[in-house]
Amino acid sequence: MAASAVKIVPEMTPAIDPSPATPQPAASVRAISKRFGQTSVLEDITFDVAEGEALVLLGASGSGKTTILRVIAGLEQPYTGKIILHGKDVTELPARERGVGVIFQSYALFPKMTVEKNIGYGLRIRRRPRKEIKKAVNELLSLVQLEEHRKKYPSQLSGGQQQRVAIARTLAYKPEVLLFDEPFGALDAQTRVHLRREIRVLLKKVNVPAIFITHDQEEALELGDRIAVINTGHIEQIGTPEQIYNHPASEYVATFLGAANILDGVFRFDNVEICGALIGAEVDPTRFKDGQPIKLAFRPEDVSLSKTDNLPDGVCRLSHGVVEEISFAGAYERLSVRLDLMPAPAEKSGDTPYYLTTETPENPTAKPIIATRTKPEASKMKLRVRDHVVVGLTSFTVLPVTAAE
């Protein structure tokens, strides 16, 4: 029961000791599916969160990520599947008996209660002794550094302060898991970055498993120990930020998290063939069948440009190309390069932009690729529009073409 996990101790240690000998997940979501009428909004969602771990559910709006959170919190009932918190199946329990802490997007602070009263609410309704509540509230106020605002009402606080009150109010009753619903959506960009760091530090201190929901990839990369990319109700990929970014499992993940170039190709002779040219990239032959269509995905920063055919070691040669556009993007230089192995853009007279004629859904490969270069790289070898270059890849991912596409 949640009530047993209420006692506050000064160090804010978790309710259940995370002994490394038993790697039981703190929170476990098993094969959750959910329908609204005929529409399926979640399909077979399964993941674990370890004690003290931060998992980010990253997805576009309408992907179903908020529904997952609400199912865990007990605010929605799943169609199938189970929610297990610290070894206990809570699927059938109402929200109030789950001991889950939800930080709502709007913070949902009680407007008629002071900061103190808001934070102490969870303990008051559990009828803890007054002294104990006072002590716990004081500790939490100092934890979130709001001691001097204790008598204020939520409407008198800034967005960031309101969020800290919401977190303290949730920590007061020692939740089994913390759920953050778009926690920074209502804040300006600067506060957002600042609060992200604060929350990470705070979470490490309290050692409670946390699940974040966001559509912001930068936020996901910074907050998450692991990231689950959600697309139309299912998990596309789950892994560390490094895994997700460097080894995306699908085109959706590759393009949703950061910028990615995608080229259509065919798997042939244990290699990748793009428009009839083998690019000299070795691929694990067990993953694909000969002649199977594949996609080649690579990040703009993984593109290596050279004026000669001498590419550095470990760089796989893709093709020749022509620089079409160079733009300055602050920390780096951004180039768009049209590869020679692509069909040339249809010759059109006048000023008709090329993409109007070639960037059609039937021919996505005809798009020029995007490359970025850091300042030192750019100054070492200056490039101008219409320069011919050799395009190599330092890193890339070969993806299967899914049936849906």
């Binding site: 009530a3 109030r96 939800v102 949902a108 009680f110 407007p111 559990r126 939520p154 009753y173």
Partner: protein, 277 residues
């Protein structure tokens, strides 16, 4: 340097402003101010002693008390009912929801005499229900209970109308947050929902009470207008006026007028306090 804007302001003096304000006040003079003023002028024209004896006449005191008590119970009922109705209607979507909203709001549009007549036809000794009660000696009409029923009927939508919009705009996430924190539905209602409704409940109650105290049309039909038994303050004014006892009527009229001033000043000046968040 700071003089320049002031000068400009004086030069640009807008004649329309004082003219329009003065015009508004002048129009209200015969419509509202003077009638109200004349109650006080007439009521006290024969001296305060005569006003006081008219006010403390036993029938007058009884009429005032009866008005207060019946209005009080009607208010209690309608606030509780309005709260419940607003909760059900704003939290659930069901078949017939709009029809229900219209029905609750209907009594405002029904003439009060019709309302009183309708109650008589239902509860009176020969009424649809009353005829089954009469043989058992149960008589609702022509008692204080009838006055309460009439008051409830005519003030039915007032509290509901004030409370429902607050429910509608209240964020669901407050209640959801309370639930995830571990509160029962009752705790959530008591600690979270109700405090946000405080202002609406107080103003709904005052509106209901003010309206009920002044109710005449339905009360005169259902109460029987028995002096010292079922005669409310407005009925007393009417009865005394008919008997030619203008001073007796006037004394009560002053009390009712002052009473409504009081209620509306509370509604007006306590807005800040009622809506504090």
């Amino acid at each position: 340097m700071s003089m320049i804007p002031t000068m400009r302001h004086v030069r640009g003096f807008d004649v329309v402003r004082p003219l329009s304000i003065g015009m508004l006040m002048f129009m209200m003079l015969p419509l509202v101010f003077l009638p109200l003023l004349s109650i006080f002028i007439f009521g006290t024209s024969k001296g305060l002693a005569s006003f006081w004896s008219a006010l403390t006449a036993s029938e007058a005191v009884f009429a005032l008390k009866l008005s207060m008590v019946t209005s009080f119970w009607a208010t209690v009922f309608n606030v509780v009912f309005g709260l419940f109705a607003a909760y059900v209607i704003s939290r659930h979507n069901f078949w017939g929801r709009n029809a229900l909203i219209v029905t609750i709001s209907l009594p405002t549009a029904i003439p009060t005499a019709v309302a009183g007549f309708a109650l008589l036809l239902l509860w009176g000794p020969y009424g649809t229900l009353g005829r089954f009660l009469a043989p058992h000696g149960i008589q609702i009409m022509f008692t204080a209970g009838a006055i309460i029923l009439a008051n409830i009927f005519v003030t039915f939508p007032l509290a509901f109308g004030v409370i429902k919009p607050v429910f509608d705009t209240m964020s669901r996430s407050l209640e959801e947050a309370s639930a995830t924190i571990g509160a029962t539905r009752w705790q959530t209602f008591w600690h979270v929902t109700l405090p946000s409704l405080r202002g609406a409940i107080v103003s709904g109650a005052l509106l209901t009470f003010a309206r009920a105290v002044g109710e005449f049309g339905s009360t005169i039909l259902v109460s029987g207008n028995l002096a010292g038994r079922t005669q409310t303050a407005p009925l007393y004014i009417f009865a005394k006026f008919n008997e030619g006892q203008i001073e007796a009527a006037n004394a009560i009229a002053i009390v009712l007028a002052l009473f409504s001033f009081l209620i509306f000043s509370v509604l007006f000046f306590a807005r800040e306090w009622l809506d504090v968040d």
